[in-house]
């Protein structure tokens, strides 16, 4: 289970998260929506300890991430897959090497690494691209490789940072289907940060709206779609006023 407990974070004097509290139960996919700059990605980075909270903390499997030492943080990260907004693939490595890097850290045998790389690429419909460099792939393919890199680790949790941003509607739908398939095949707990409402409705079990640094409303897809909160309504309908 992942739990944000009254989390505060600011940068250069500007408050971003202002008391974020949210619980993500095992096996579910929670989508965090909200305006740009409201701290969605910042919240996600706290889960893997890429950022340190100013106050409050994130609890993952009973461990307060902000208090973990380097060794414990490494162990925690081994159970979490992270899909970055622009995939963050290593330019100098092939697709297969990108996927194998995290597996090598776990000291798996070479044969098992090869099997897992092949399996993960097949799951994202990119079999046969292992020898290609990230620069030779389209934006959508790079995102799928990013997802494959995360699922090859067979993590307990997968965190998706804006997985469909910048993609055309068809490719976005492919990524959405992939996220659903990943949850069904691997049974992982997911946290998805997005402002793409179609994607949120497709992949989310629950949706949490982040507004002014804290959760404005959290509920099932149906509850959010029927909300009477004017701020949430305006956001999900994409109205200017």
């Amino acid at each position: 289970m992942i739990e944000f407990q009254d989390l505060y974070k600011g940068f250069d004097g500007k408050a971003v998260l202002q008391g974020l509290s949210l619980r993500i139960r095992d096996g579910e996919t929670v989508v965090i929506i909200g305006y740009s700059g409201t701290g969605k990605s910042v919240a996600l980075k706290h889960i893997v300890g890429l950022l340190q909270p100013d106050a409050g903390d994130v609890i993952v499997d009973g461990q307060a991430v902000g208090t973990l030492d380097k060794g414990d943080l490494t162990l925690l990260r081994e159970g979490i897959g992270y899909v970055f907004q622009f995939a963050a693939l290593f330019d100098s490595m092939t697709v297969a090497e990108n996927l194998a890097l995290g597996l090598r850290r776990r000291r798996l045998a070479d044969e098992e690494i090869e099997d897992r790389v092949r399996e993960a690429l097949a799951l994202v419909d990119l079999s046969g691209t292992g020898d290609r460099l990230p620069a030779e792939l389209s934006g959508g393919m790079r995102k799928r490789v990013g997802i494959a890199r995360a699922i090859a680790l067979r993590p307990r949790y997968i965190l998706y940072d804006e997985p469909t941003t910048g993609l055309d509607p068809v490719t976005s739908a492919v990524i959405d289907r992939l996220m659903v398939r990943t949850r069904e095949h691997l049974g992982v707990t997911g946290v998805v940060v997005t402002h793409d409402m179609r994607s949120a409705y497709t992949v989310g079990d629950r949706i949490a709206m982040l507004y002014e640094g804290r959760v404005r409303q959290v509920g099932s897809v149906a509850e959010i779609q029927e909300t009477e909160d004017p701020v949430v309504r305006q956001f999900i309908e994409g109205r200017a006023e």
Binding site: K45, L50, T74, R77, Y82, L153
Partner: protein, 253 residues
């Protein structure tokens, strides 16, 4: 004005603290041998072998110029075989290490800052961390070790090439025989000349790599930030090379 001075002082102290923390983290990462050991050889090739042509080109022309200028200065006053002395001593003690260091501050330091800066702004460094790697063990330690080991090797080749071109220039243009050049080369030679130059160059390699990594991993913003980091890495490295050069002269000569 007092506020501005205060702000700058605090910022300077913070920078020193950040560098201290970075060096401490790097020292701690040395224990993660399994991660950095297999990456050192690749970095040694990139830093050492790939930098050799630039370093040797500079050394070759430095040897030519040294021989000609020595001859011009000594004419009529000092025996010509002192050309060998001046070429040898200057290449070993000063120009070999310092000119190579300055040239490689541009080539190696800038390349490290640009590469790590790009990795930072494209979240590749964060990705590395989420894959349970320590960026210090994976990115910093191999580069710093490789540069510290390879700079003396590059400088040794540079010194040799500088002396050879100085000798060839003396033969071709200065009416100086090989035995006379060697006689001058041996005059006042002590083994300290060599190890002093190589020790100095190892410290330059360490500094250039460390600065490149600190500046690169501290990059903020997009392409503009990477450009700023690259320039900073070259400027800071060049300044530190000259400071270290003076430091070693005071301490060891």
């Amino acid at each position: 004005m007092i506020q501005a001075i205060g702000r700058r002082s605090i910022s300077a102290i913070e920078s020193v603290g950040r560098v201290g923390q970075f060096v401490m983290d790097m020292t701690r990462a040395l224990t993660d041998v399994g991660t950095w050991a297999r990456l050192v050889v690749g970095q040694m090739r990139r830093i050492g072998v790939d930098s050799l042509p630039v370093a040797l080109f500079i050394a070759a022309f430095t040897g030519v110029v040294l021989a000609l200028q020595a001859s011009y200065t000594f004419t009529g006053a000092v025996p010509l075989y002192f050309v060998g002395t001046l070429v040898g001593k200057t290449m070993m003690l000063e120009l070999g290490p310092v000119l190579t260091g300055l040239a490689l501050a541009g080539r190696v330091g800038a390349s490290m800052a640009a590469e790590l800066g790009t990795m930072k702004v494209t979240e590749q460094v964060d990705a590395l961390e989420t894959l349970a790697y320590d960026p210090q063990s994976y990115l910093v330690v191999p580069r710093v070790i490789a540069a510290t080991l390879m700079f003396p090797v590059i400088v040794a080749f540079s010194i040799a090439v500088g002396i050879i071109t100085g000798w060839l220039t003396s033969l071709a243009l200065l009416d100086l025989s090989t035995p006379d050049f060697i006689k001058g080369l041996k005059l006042f030679y002590v083994s300290k000349d060599v190890w002093f130059g190589l020790l100095k160059s190892a410290s330059f390699g360490f500094t250039i790599a460390l600065v490149g990594c600190i500046v690169g991993l501290g990059t903020r913003g997009g392409a503009e930030g990477v450009g700023r980091s690259t320039t900073r890495a070259v400027v800071y490295s060049a300044i530190l090379i000259l400071v270290l050069d003076a430091f070693w002269a005071v301490v060891l000569l």
